[in-house]
Amino acid sequence: MIAIGGAAVLLLLGLISPADAFLTLVRDWNTFLFFLGMMALSALAEAAGLFDWLAVQAARLAGRSAARLFLNVFLLGSLISMILSNDATALILTPIVYVLVTKLRLPVLPYLFACTFIADTASFLLPVSNPINVIIISRFPLDLWTFVRLLFLPSLVVISINIGLFFLLYRNQIKGGFDIERLPSAEQAIKHQAYFRYTCCVLAVVAFAYVMASAVQLPLSLVALSGAVLLLIGAICWKQISLRQTAKRISWSIFGFIAGMFIVVRAIEDTGLTTRFGNWLIHLSGGTNFGAVMVGTVGAALGTNLINNVPMAVVMISALGGIQHAAPSLQHAFVAATIFGCDLGPNLTTVGSLATVLWLLILRQRDVDVSGLDYFKVGVVVTPLMLLAGALTIWLLL
């Protein structure tokens, strides 16, 4: 509401013309449609019971070991983030893992934090792994090879650090085992056998199509939407979920938020503020690749914790307009670091923004439940290390 309200005020005050606002939104159609396709794909895969089935399989493969299940949750979260984006891991896998470990009578928090953190830590394996990546590369196109060359290895590095540090932090809580009898059967997770198989096939095709589309720089939203339409047709044919139920599972308010943000930032662009911010970042980097990676990473990561990562990505793509005349390696340094910082940065406070953290601190002073602070404590220990290691790896790969 705040973003839409801000945009409305700017339009009413004439600080941006309706035509300009409209053009701004049309220019970013790929982002809007990608969000729609991504949310629909996840909702339809969830309706098939795919995530529940995968979680049960992860537990079965763990034998009876709590530590192996911990590792499997990280690996499963990485796989889901890579193909279906970090939203699917954070919002769908997390409650499923919560139910699973509650049934298994294992400590809940380590597994919950594993899901939450890996959602972001594994969100730059591929361009589709995070909608932020799509927002950024819509403005600064990176071919698949360059994206993978600059971000895949850093992603593996930070995933390893994330897993290693979590094993260290929670070593005492994941030492034991669990009773396999408490585990629900994998068949129970599947709502309808034929639709489930169909969903697996469609998602395999979508994963392949994502890679191909990234390679030839086709809009990723078309792949996501096509996949969602195919799944929806299957779901309706097998009477698993209706169009209305699918629509209910999509967060429509997010489109208003993004649209509002695009318009507000477009209006700020006209004042020259974002350009100045961009020039300041370039100046701070000293024109070197190392400086660009460090400034881009730190700037984006801090920004995501101040104003959430979607607005920060929109601000950064506007601010970095000036780098289009810089040397290609410097451009790549800034773009890769912005993706990296915006994707991984939220793990610092996890609750999303500094405002939320401050609010939680105030609540704690008033003796109100503030479980979100547990995340914050882990995030401030783990995330700076991951940011540093990842940024250095990107710099080495430039």
Partner: protein
């Protein structure tokens, strides 16, 4: 004496041994309590907020979470009843430390029996930070004496003087 035994899913044997020792000196009326911690669910809610989603999961998922919590709590209490067949089983939801002290007051407990922290297969630790925040809060705020049940650790002595 009315003894409120706090179960955490890992400590029923330890708690039952402690009550056995106590019951030799005086008759005990026992209640077993398990509190479902609502903190993790709040964490998941915060996560939805961060991903710009409205609060609350889709209804089937919400129901599944509720059922899992209920079944797990019942399972832990049933296990407790095997050790304390005559005990009253109490189930609460909320912040465990606060629910324990409030239940102790409501049930008019003369003694709260609690373990330092849930042990999930790890080595029972002694030393700094060996008492978790729940047991520490209960010791600080309970309306009656608190019995902190620790495992024997004689083999780790003497400690450096």
């Amino acid at each position: 004496m009315r003894a409120l035994c706090c179960l955490d899913g890992t400590n029923v044997e330890q708690v039952s041994k402690a009550t056995e020792m106590l019951s030799t000196s005086q008759p005990l009326t026992v209640a077993i309590l398990y509190v479902t911690d609502t903190g993790p669910r709040h964490d998941i809610e915060h996560l939805r907020e961060r991903f710009l989603r409205p609060p609350g999961h889709p209804p089937p998922r919400e129901e599944e979470i509720r059922q899992a919590e209920k079944a797990s709590a019942q399972d832990i209490l049933n296990e407790g009843l095997r050790y304390f067949p005559a005990a009253e089983a109490l189930q609460r939801q909320g912040r465990p430390e606060r629910e324990i002290v409030n239940t102790a007051a409501e049930w008019q407990a003369d003694l709260v029996i609690i373990c330092p922290r849930a042990e999930y297969g790890g080595r029972h630790a002694i030393g700094p930070k060996s008492v978790g925040h729940v047991a520490r809060f209960v010791a600080d705020h309970a309306p009656c004496p608190v019995l902190l049940v620790r495992p024997l650790a004689r083999e780790r002595f003497p400690i450096p003087r």
